[in-house]
């Protein structure tokens, strides 16, 4: 009896294995012709069914307004182009980056997705994974972008992605706290130091900083370097693979002086940006240097108390006596940009979608999601909270926007920059060592 049962079971197992083998073979067989038909029809006819796969990084929970806007644009596109279906996959920032890398290793990127500029983009371009989009820039999108934004996505004269965001970094501050201590928004670095000292003497944390996410500390260092050494110092240093300019070392010294003055929230090297942000939102810290993506929190976001929103203003990073940087130099840059995969079976349709997306996004992102698009916005034609208008105008008047150095640098150097920022602010290295480490890693060229 048992023997019989066992034989039956064995036979069954054999059957199952072979069945599984068959069915997977069947799948392969049926899926590849479908792909082929897709690539064949890509450019020509809308009537045939085309599916564009898209990956983005705005989950409904944490970035609901972006998420909604993406859905809305997709819907409009699908309506305007019957037969086209856009399938989206959504992942949170860090996971998104990882998945992109894994997918690219197996050469199965989505047709359309988001990428970061410069250093992040480079390996993908070298690996021939992204399609150049210059034809779009010369065609439909000609003259639509704010000057100098698409360059961050250009390698060897070709542009491989189109930015949808452009942010600069103002210093947000709590007007109520400032008033309480008879302070005004500082215009010069001396005034700024005075603000820091006064706040500390009165037991208020001057600056919220979450340097566990080291890029937030990098903002401060970049501004110090800019105000001391002028707008081109960082760009040129990175381009020339050197970091020995005395101004860069001087800026590092100033950063450590700020640490000595107790300018930053306690334990900042162990706090994430989110934790630091909550210090500022809970009015436990008076200042917060952060990208303009935070502006909705101080203007339109429904879940933030109106009384708090009214207290928040911004100032430009103060200038230094004898420094070469002007008040209208900003740290900032385009955020993510849309790419089209080079080996996408529906490349032409995907490009068409990207063009549509960028235009619609430009029209709607400020008013509906509070996002500064990289395309030009006519501030006179739209109704927005004053902080938005002010910052959009600042953007138009900017003398220079220095792209985040961790984006400018290549990946390995960028990692090291993050470590060194933590070390500098944690006083684990001297300013000279800080510069030397940068020099080494920039020279290595990775």
């Amino acid at each position: 009896m048992i023997r019989k049962a066992l034989t039956t079971f064995t036979l069954l197992a054999v059957l199952l294995v072979s069945l599984a083998a068959c069915s997977s073979g069947g799948n392969n067989g049926s899926s590849s012709p479908a792909d082929n038909s897709g690539s064949g029809s890509g450019g020509s006819a809308d009537a045939e069914k085309v599916t564009i796969k898209m990956m983005h990084l705005w989950p409904d929970g944490s970035n609901s307004s972006q998420n909604k806007l993406v859905k809305q644009i997709i819907m409009e596109y699908e309506e305007a182009n019957p037969g086209v279906t856009i399938k989206t996959e959504v992942l949170e920032n860090e996971q998104y980056k990882n998945k992109l890398k894994v997918l690219s290793a197996s050469n199965s990127l989505p047709d359309v997705g988001f990428t970061w500029a410069a250093g992040f983009l480079e390996p993908y371009v070298k690996g021939n994974l992204f399609a150049p989009l210059d034809d779009l820039l010369e065609g439909d999108l000609n003259g639509q972008f704010v000057a100098g934004t698409t360059e961050a996505y250009a390698i060897d004269g070709k542009t491989y992605a189109l930015p949808v965001e452009l942010n600069i970094v103002p210093v947000f501050y709590n007007k109520a706290i400032f008033e309480k201590h008879n302070l005004e928004a500082p215009k010069t670095y001396e005034e700024f130091e005075h603000v820091v000292k006064t706040l500390r003497e009165n037991g208020v944390t001057p600056v919220a900083l979450g340097a566990k996410d080291a890029w937030t500390g990098s903002f401060w260092y970049m501004y110090l370097a800019d105000r001391l050494g002028g707008p081109d110092l960082l760009d040129e240093s990175i381009a020339n693979q050197t970091f020995q300019d005395p101004k860069l070392i001087e800026a590092a010294k100033l950063a450590q002086e700020l640490v000595d003055m107790d300018a930053f929230v306690k334990g900042f090297n162990g706090l994430s940006n989110e934790e630091a942000k909550s210090e500022f939102m809970n009015e436990q810290a008076a200042m917060y240097a952060m990208g303009t993506w935070e502006v909705p929190n101080y203007t339109t976001a429904e879940d933030v108390d109106q009384a708090f929103k009214d207290k928040i203003g911004f100032f430009k990073f103060p200038v230094m006596e004898g420094g070469e940087g002007s008040l209208n130099n900003w740290v900032g840059g385009p955020g993510v940009g849309l790419f089209v995969a080079e080996n996408s079976p529906v490349k032409e349709q995907a490009k068409d979608f990207v063009s549509f997306f960028v235009q619609k996004w430009g029209e709607k992102s400020v008013t509906e999601a509070g996002i500064f698009p990289a395309t030009k916005v006519d501030t006179s034609a739209i109704d927005l909270p004053p902080m938005f208008i002010d910052l959009l105008n600042e953007l138009n008047n900017a003398d220079k926007v220095t792209l985040y150095v961790d984006v400018q640098m290549k990946p390995v150097a960028s990692e090291e920059h993050h470590n060194q920022i933590q070390a500098l602010f944690g006083k684990a290295v001297t300013p000279e060592e800080f510069a030397k480490k940068h020099e080494e890693v920039l020279k290595a060229g990775k």
């Binding site: 023997r3 066992l6 197992a13 290793a105 390996p123 070298k126 021939n128 566990k212 334990g267 390995v412």
Partner: protein, 293 residues
């Protein structure tokens, strides 16, 4: 029955699926990792063969060696804490009141995911609002440290949640092993006038020595490749002060786009784990297995 089971083909048939899976997801990737370790590869574009260059860089990379020392510190601390777990298990198995409830309490942290534990402890360690520092301040301690931001403290601060997380697991293993000891032995000893200490050290511990050895291997290897809690709580920071081998590998491969170097680290980590296991087995190998029955 015997006839079917002794048929070589049937044996092969039953072994094959799991063999294929193990080959596919463990052994082949290990070989591939070793292979990638010989390449200069950013994970996206084409690879170039550079021989052992990644490994020579690795041996001169002080950041890597400090991550190795952090991993080994964790391994040592975990091994030492096994003694504590064993003591708790001894007490629990001694038929004290509420042992059942206590055992469950110890086990609960193990049921939580590492990320949840990390989030919980992030709140506890928060430099100004965390309960730890609030408690210290209310005890009159001025300016308690920012636990996760101090390079000299961060490793120990991280070890506490790890200790907490795995306590239940090891206590459970020891508890089960202790409960497995035949009561006749213990009763016999008691009749012969042995004290509780003597019973514990002369009878119980020798009988679960094999289990103890296994847990040492588990604790050491587990510590050497530990990653998740550190990734969430400090991400190896500040400035690499809490970087361990696995997080260093992750940073090099996924943040620095250096998959060749990352693979070399991964392969080296594997070798370190194998060597550590082998050394522990050698050190704890006993000539004769103790059995009292």
């Amino acid at each position: 029955m015997d006839k079917v089971m002794s048929n070589k083909w049937v044996i092969a048939l039953y072994v094959l699926p799991s063999l294929l899976i193990i080959m596919g997801i463990i052994y082949i990737p290990i070989v591939l990792t070793g292979y990638y370790g010989l390449m200069e590869w950013d994970g996206v574009s084409a690879m170039t063969f550079i021989g052992l260059e990644n490994y020579t860089t690795l041996f001169n990379d002080s950041a890597f060696w400090s991550s190795v020392s952090h991993s080994f510190l964790f391994a040592v601390l975990s091994t030492v804490s096994l003694g504590v777990y064993l003591l708790v298990a001894l007490v629990l198995s001694g038929n004290i009141k509420g042992a059942n409830l206590l055992r469950k309490i110890y086990l609960i942290p193990m049921l939580l995911s590492s990320v949840a534990i990390a989030q919980l402890w992030l709140k506890i360690y928060h430099p100004t609002n965390g309960i730890l520092n609030s408690a210290l301040e209310s005890l009159g301690i001025q300016d308690p440290p920012a636990w996760l931001a101090e390079p000299s403290l961060v490793l120990y601060a991280l070890f506490v949640p790890i200790l907490w997380q795995f306590a239940g697991f090891y206590i459970l293993i020891y508890y089960a092993a202790l409960k497995n000891i035949p009561t006749t032995l213990i009763e016999a000893a008691r009749i012969d006038g042995a004290t509780p200490w003597q019973i514990a050290f002369k009878i119980k511990l020798p009988l679960i020595a094999e289990v103890f050895k296994v847990t040492i291997v588990l604790a050491v290897v587990g510590s050497l490749k530990y990653f998740d809690l550190i990734y969430v709580m400090t991400d190896g920071g500040p400035n690499g002060a809490s970087e361990v081998m696995a997080s260093y590998m992750y940073h090099k491969a996924f943040r620095g786009f250096d998959f060749g170097y990352g693979s070399a680290i991964g392969f080296f980590l594997l070798i370190i784990c194998l060597v550590a296991t082998w050394i522990i087995r050698r050190m704890t190998a006993s000539k004769d297995n103790i059995q009292y029955s």
